[in-house]
């Protein structure tokens, strides 16, 4: 018996090592590409300009000037860092964080591409990279992903797969836009988003828990329904009454003094209320899941519902509560998306709900991990988007593919080395 387990473990570790090697080689290829094409391939006299003045905060007391770097050397350094990470993974075969390193390499690659695209003299019409406004833009994407991933943590820790995050985003964005346009109050918009997200969560829980339907199927059907319902209501309500969908953005609430710090200030301390709420929620969810009695119950239900029921935990009730709360979080995320992107349009969440799901897996079903993963995904999504304004020799449509391809690569590289909650997706039959 023990022999069998030992060989099995051996074989699986062999497979994992092989996969680690493959990932390392992939990273090295990207690094070499950067070194040869972007660094050695660009003329020695070209330089890239980095500016730091935020667009909407011109009265900042501490101005940073323009940083001009030689494109060749910057990209060479970036390429070398990628190679270093690749070699480290190949030689050391670290047990954890391989895919995090891969994500870092992907972001560095896009960064190198950005420097290279913005070089002067070069073909690009925009000759500088505004670091601060770039980070501010990326923080909006990251925020939405964090909301989605947190929602996933809430549901999946209790053992329910919530694929309907995308649908909750759509619902939250739709209703949020309606409430924000009519009341011009984003607090109400957030509440409306939470209500509709929670309602969708309740429907999911109702079908998945009471009738033990397949959770993935119910989730996907709910997303289909929500996206067609939003398209229907868009034509039926928003088109005849455009004042229901004015698309005003949530106002920024600068925190005194802190918001004046260069770079960090605009990114972290001059954001809308949704951003601060997100930070609070990350803390609350981490604390609730890992430091409270209730969190212990939730995790028990997600790992071994039968054992949890034996010690007197109401499995179904815990799952209901968590799925509804998780749905509410995703609904707020949808409202937050609307509050940073403007007017509701059909299909404009473009699969962020699914990327958030991947971020959840990447983050090993932990709030903190989900935050790190969301930052990596958010950076790569926003970099791909930002690159379309520069004249890059890659078609913008291939740039559009990039975040999705990274997601696929990460998910493919991760499974087997991360472990979901043991009862995730399994229906619980009370006996």
């Amino acid at each position: 018996m023990s022999l069998v387990t030992a060989t099995a473990a051996n074989a699986s570790s062999l497979v994992k090592n092989k996969r680690t090697r493959v990932i390392a080689v992939l990273m090295a290829v990207v690094g070499l590409f950067t070194i040869f094409v972007f660094a050695i391939g660009s003329p020695g006299n070209t330089h890239s300009q980095l500016t730091f003045t935020p667009i909407n905060l011109t009265n900042a007391p501490w101005h940073l000037g323009t940083l001009t770097v030689l494109t060749r050397w910057t990209d060479l350094v970036l390429g070398l860092v990628m190679m270093l990470l690749a070699v480290e993974v190949f030689v050391r075969e670290p047990r954890r964080g391989v895919m995090a390193r891969f994500g870092v390499v992907a972001v560095l690659f896009l960064l190198a591409l950005l420097f290279w695209a913005a070089r002067t003299p070069g073909p690009s019409p925009i000759e500088y990279v505004n670091v601060t406004s770039f980070l501010v833009g990326a923080s909006a994407t990251t925020m939405v992903l964090i909301y989605g991933a947190l929602s996933g943590v809430m549901c999946e820790r209790a053992g329910v797969v919530n694929i309907a995050i995308e649908g909750q985003f759509i619902g939250g964005a739709f209703l949020g836009s309606m409430i924000a346009s009519t009341t011009n109050n984003f607090f109400y918009a957030a509440i409306a988003g939470a209500l509709i997200g929670g309602l969708i969560g309740l429907v999911l829980a109702f079908f998945a828990l009471r009738y033990r339907s397949d959770q993935i199927i119910v989730g996907i059907v709910l997303v289909t329904m929500l996206s067609s319902l939003s398209s229907y209501l868009n034509l039926q309500v928003f088109t005849p009454f455009p004042n229901f969908n004015t698309g005003n953005l949530a106002p920024n609430l600068p925190i005194p003094i802190l918001s004046k710090i260069p770079i960090i200030g605009p990114v972290f301390f001059n954001q809308s209320g949704f951003f601060y709420l997100m930070i609070v929620l990350v803390g609350v969810v981490s604390f609730a899941l890992f430091k409270t009695r209730y969190g212990l119950h939730v995790r028990a239900v997600g790992e071994h519902p039968r054992a949890a029921a034996t010690v007197g935990i109401d499995v179904i009730r815990v799952r209901y509560i968590n799925v509804v709360l998780g749905g509410a979080i995703a609904g707020i995320g949808g409202a937050a998306f609307m509050a940073t992107q403007g007017q509701f349009q059909v299909g404009y969440t473009s699969g962020y709900g699914y990327i958030a799901l991947a971020a959840l897996i990447f983050g090993r079903w932990r709030p903190s991990g989900a935050v790190v993963a969301s930052i990596l995904f958010g950076l790569s999504v926003y970099l791909s988007y930002e690159l379309t304004t520069y004249q890059v020799p890659i078609s913008i449509y291939f740039l559009d593919m990039f975040p999705y391809l990274i997601t696929i690569a990460v998910v493919a590289g991760l499974i087997g080395r991360v472990r979901p909650p043991a009862a995730d997706g399994q229906p619980y039959i009370r006996d």
Binding site: S213, V221, L233, Y397, D400, T407, I415, G416
Partner: protein, 435 residues
Amino acid sequence: MSDAAISKAAPEEAPVDVPPRPALYKSLWSRYTSTSPIVVAAYALFLGLVFGAIIIIVTTPAVLDAWREIFRHWDGLPHAINVSFDNVGAAYRAIFTGSIIDPQGFWHSLTTGKNWPNTLTPLSETLTYATPLLIVSIGVGIAFQTGLFNIGANGQAVIGGIAGTAIGSMIRLPTVIHLPMALVGGILGGMFCGLVPGLLKAYTGAHEVIVTLMFNYVTYAFLLYAVLSTPFQQPGQQNDIGRTLYSSAILAPLFGTKSGLRVSYGVFVAAAVVVFAWWLLDRSSLGFDFRVTGANPSAARASGISAKSVIVLVFLISGGLAGLAGFVQVASTTHYIDGGFLIGNAGIGFTAITVALLGRNRPVGIVWASLLFAALSVGGRNMQAATGIPLDLATVIQSAVVLFVATPILVKEIFHLKGTGQAATLQIATTGWGT
């Protein structure tokens, strides 16, 4: 399956002295209150239509105005109910006349013998829509039967459509070779797109739901790239329109171009696919392996079925069928691809998921389900034209129907149906994110 079980069980349980056949109305009644899949599907359709009606009532301004009146005068209530029924009735009538037949036109044609093409247009449109939908749903259903979720059928259909159209529009050949080549091109395109999630699932364990969903977005970006770049874009075009198929590579209308009916020889392709799926699932050893893997993965492993090759093969077949459907869609309707090809909820790949579930993943069930959903979608177009209610309502109704079909116990409870819910539950293995 449970139909057979019920009819088999009835005579055995009947005592000898009682006449073996109960009265006709009784047997019909017991049938209507049983949990056979067809009955559950019919009740689910009814519930879906009720859901759609509620949505029409709460979102149509005229109806809402009528209901607001009753806050002033109670006697406005009958009027409000009338207006609600009028609006819902008009919408559903438009769905029926737009997808099946217009009774007035039918009577006119029947009595005068004229105007038949016009009368048959709705049916022809439904069949035209159902043909690719049926093909792609069969592929999704085969994957479901193996316990695999192919959510990326839409992307696979897009790639298949592009590949087939590229072959059909960039080279000139006689029809005998050209059309089969383009069809095979579509299959290969879809297979390629299905192969990636299959390989990733088999060799890394990446969950196919995420991978195929992500692939939908990748293929959509690729579609925009293809219709806007040199080799594939229509020459002399600046917009997102691809090349037009040569007449040697199209699926010609069944009743000739003059009739104006669009239903094409694609129906024979679809029929061939149904026969193929029936043979594969019910008659071949490969299909047996598929079904065993779907029903009980560990039993399959124990009996020596290679899970990896099953996964890759299923995705090849499923993707190939989706790709074929994509090309059939092009070759029987527009003959070119534009940037809006199979976008969003109109995408047959997404409807296919619901069709496969409604058809319980069986070829024959999928035939009926695809006809039904095709009728809803085609009728939705007519409803939008006639009443201004957006055609997305059709998709809303479809997803509501599937939600109810996926939970037969709920339908059973609502209508107090007899029989064990066991027979009617959907048999799909839930695996969560596990490896």
